[in-house]
């Protein structure tokens, strides 16, 4: 009897573990400065790595035929995440498996780089729920730190270096002078493809180029995988941190033409700063487990005709009218799912350009605000909503 009970208990635990968010990452307090920390730093030896699951982004399907075919059967990935903080900066290390090291070709039109990004929730005037996982949402900005493994990039730097923008064959230089010219051009290249962006929803991602967002990221390829590190201030113009820092991780696989939305991403993950009081509200929002009945939720989803616009599982036909829900349970918090049912216009995933599917406008713009075409389901009773949320939390790809 005891044995049966244990197995029932462990079964129950396994079920709730499957529905639960990734456990919080504990950031170890260090005294050394974290400025410019890389994966080689000895400081990481003390840090504890936690597992974070990264799900394929499937809310939107992009229009690259070849890449879509390559990524059609994508599964979720596990990443190992550790964090450190020194009182001023926070540093994160992400380790993920990737069998091939891909660097975008310097003279190629269809090769792509491996890369990773860490997203932080931006500060808002008043307390708001966490921004939408995919690039934030209107009024709820996110800050995204991106590191790609690229060769040299000669991005226009705004310095009007026009004299170096001439093909070497068309200069009137020879011998040593031509060599000097080549060296000057080479010196203008950026070899570290590190970017900081701010966004309030898909398509609004804008690079911060005014120096107001400091960061230092690096990527190191080891045996069968990458280690990426990032350090940034705990507080700046964009984020204000307390004991709990919500972050989200994304990784790109260049061998599968990964870039932009063709990525694997986590849900919001809580990073608790050791020795500081965790932010109970944020922590609760990130780690909340739905108490609803998933089986009943599945029925409710059918009764309410959700599949009229949403693709629910991989077996359902794809739809351009609404985001696909097939991995929504992987990268969404319970709070976000609940909010989307009750207040569909609170966060409208702007998605691709509406012009791409002009006959299926899933939102309209009224007085500058996006109004979702989705029915407001606030008439549903509380239990049904919880059941639906519980079911949506089960929608996610298996881990590879």
């Amino acid at each position: 009897m005891k044995k049966i009970l244990t197995s029932i208990l462990s079964l129950g635990l396994a079920c709730s573990a499957a529905l639960a968010a990734d456990a919080p990452v504990n950031a170890l307090k260090v005294t050394d400065s974290l400025d410019g920390i890389t994966a080689d730093s000895a400081l990481w030896s003390k840090a504890k790595f936690s597992e974070v699951t990264l799900y394929p982004q499937t809310a939107l399907k992009m229009n690259d035929k070849k890449a879509n075919d390559m990524n059609a059967a994508d599964k979720a990935k596990k990443a190992e995440v550790a964090a450190l903080y020194d009182g001023k900066n926070i540093a994160l290390m992400v380790k993920w498996a990737d069998g091939t090291k891909n660097i975008q070709g310097s003279y190629s039109s269809d090769t792509y780089s491996d890369g990773f990004a860490v997203q932080f929730a931006g500060t808002t005037k008043k307390a708001e729920p966490l921004p939408y996982i995919g690039m934030g949402s209107e009024g709820r900005p996110v800050i995204v730190h991106l590191q790609k493994a690229t060769a040299s990039v000669y991005e226009p730097n705004g310095n009007k270096d026009v004299e170096t923008q001439v093909n070497r064959n068309q200069t009137n230089l020879f011998g040593q002078e031509l060599k000097d010219y080549d060296a000057k051009v080479a010196s203008l290249a950026k070899t570290d493809y590190e970017r900081v962006f701010t966004a309030q929803g898909f398509r609004s991602l804008t690079e911060i180029k005014d120096g107001s967002a400091k960061s230092s990221a690096s990527m190191t390829y080891g045996t069968n995988g990458w280690s990426g590190t990032l350090s940034r201030p705990l507080n700046d113009d964009y984020i204000k941190s307390n004991g709990t820092v919500p972050v989200a991780i994304a990784v790109w696989d260049g061998s599968k033409n990964g870039r932009d939305g063709l990525k694997n991403l986590s849900s919001w993950v809580a990073v608790n700063l050791e020795g500081m009081k965790p932010d109970a509200k944020r922590l609760g929002e990130i780690t909340e487990v739905s108490k609803g009945d998933a089986a009943k939720g599945k029925e409710a989803l059918a009764t309410n005709g959700c599949n009229g616009c949403h693709q629910i599982t991989a077996e359902d036909p794809a739809s351009v009218m609404a985001p696909s829900l097939k991995n929504v349970g992987g990268y969404s918090t319970v709070a976000y799912l609940r909010e989307s049912i009750l207040k569909p216009s609170a966060v409208v995933v702007p998605g691709y350009n509406r012009n791409a599917h002009s006959n299926t406008p899933w939102y309209t713009i009224e007085k500058g605000k996006r109004i979702s075409a989705m029915t407001d389901y606030s008439f549903l009773d509380k239990k049904t909503v919880e059941d639906i949320v519980a079911y949506l939390k089960t929608l996610k790809a298996e881990v590879e």
């Binding site: 939107l60 229009n63 690259d64 269809d110 093909n167 911060i208 180029k209 120096g211 791409a356």
Partner: protein
């Protein structure tokens, strides 16, 4: 849709495939900085593989329901061709003349091949292509960064290089494959319709340099413009592959006349034409029949009466008669927006939309 729309009309009856336009464009814009392989303007032989290779089969554009179609991003080496150069300097040291890369493919690889059997029924014509500055651009619709925009002032489609992140969905989305990836700066680039020239009242380099005088440039809403007359008044200029649904703004006068075929003895088959009308229908749609009928009727009228506004237009006695640009218009736009009249009228490169401090270095 923009307030006004610039358009170009190319008279395919007059194109001799000399590539002067290609060179004019290349030396002006694409001979440097990672654009070496790009031809914002190219002239391909039709029928043929085109540039990039088999571009008509690479997807993009819209279906009848208005949904953007998935597309394929061409490979630089296999589909565009890596530009090669020769070892001129080593020749002095006795080396043999060699290209620096093994040429495997390039634009015009199949120049003048065409279709059919020589001499019985072989045929081809030249098809010059630039960005169509579409009213409903596939590239713009595909961009997940809102980095591509259509200028209100004149409908020119441009890439905001500050927003572009090099995802390349635009290339998949453009059915004409007239937007390219610049690997050196990791961003997409395309024909800009020489907007810095246009704003100063000068035609685009390709049109200015065209020795065959095939290119007319003007505003489609300007009833005195050559493009208005050819597109709307006489309806002889037609969009290329308008079945892609992007509403292109480069129009073509279809090849009107083609020689008769020969029989096995080398005698002319009376009443035959080498150029199959089906091919023209594929490129320019069913309206090609009316266009050719109008052109033939006007030619006849000109022969009989000596008068035809349409033929006078197409002959283009004066080079300057081919363009109706409006420097004053742009000056006015600059004035209204309190901008430097010599600077490009678009300010979209200046500030990042969501950067808090608002600055952009």
């Amino acid at each position: 849709m923009s307030k006004r729309q610039l358009a170009m009309v190319m008279d395919l009856n007059k194109c001799i495939g000399c590539q002067t336009c290609t060179v004019a464009c290349k030396t002006q814009w694409t001979n440097r900085n990672g654009r070496e392989y790009m031809y914002w303007n190219n002239v391909e032989t039709y029928p043929g593989t085109g540039y990039p290779k088999n571009w008509m089969e690479l997807g993009g554009g819209f279906d009848a329901a208005g949904d953007l179609q998935p597309g394929v991003i061409p490979n630089l080496e296999a589909d565009y061709g890596v530009p090669w150069d020769y070892n001129y300097e080593s020749l002095m040291g006795g080396a043999s003349f060699r290209p620096n890369v093994e040429p495997t493919w390039g634009p015009n690889w199949d120049e003048d091949q065409g279709a059919g059997a020589f001499p019985q029924d072989n045929y081809f014509f030249y098809l010059p292509r630039i960005c169509n500055h579409c009213t409903n651009p596939g590239c713009l619709s595909a961009c997940p960064r809102d980095a591509i925009f259509k200028r209100e002032e004149d409908g020119v489609v441009l890439v905001d290089l500050d927003r572009c992140q090099g995802y390349r969905y635009c290339i998949a989305g453009c059915p004409y494959k007239k937007i390219y990836f610049n690997p050196k700066i990791s961003k997409s680039e395309k024909c800009i319709l020489c907007f810095p020239r246009i704003e100063q009242g000068l035609p685009p380099a390709c049109a200015q340099q065209c020795v065959g005088r095939i290119r007319f440039v003007g505003f489609l809403d300007d009833e005195d413009s050559q493009v208005y007359k050819l597109v709307h008044k006489y309806k002889v200029a037609l969009g290329l592959r308008s079945d892609y649904g992007t509403q292109p703004n480069v129009y073509y006068i279809p090849p009107t006349e083609s020689p008769a075929k020969f029989d096995a003895e080398g005698k002319i088959i009376e009443g035959s034409t080498r150029l199959p009308i089906e091919e023209l229908e594929k490129l320019f749609g069913p309206a090609v029949h009316d266009s050719i009928a109008t052109l033939k009727a006007e030619m006849k009228k000109r022969k009989e009466t000596g008068v035809s506004e349409l033929l006078d237009l197409l002959i283009a006695y004066q080079h300057s008669d081919m363009f109706r640009l409006d420097n004053n218009y742009y000056q006015q736009v600059a004035k209204e927006n309190k901008r430097n009249p010599l600077a490009p009228v678009d300010t979209r490169y200046v500030a990042g939309k969501f950067t808090k401090a608002g600055g952009h270095i």
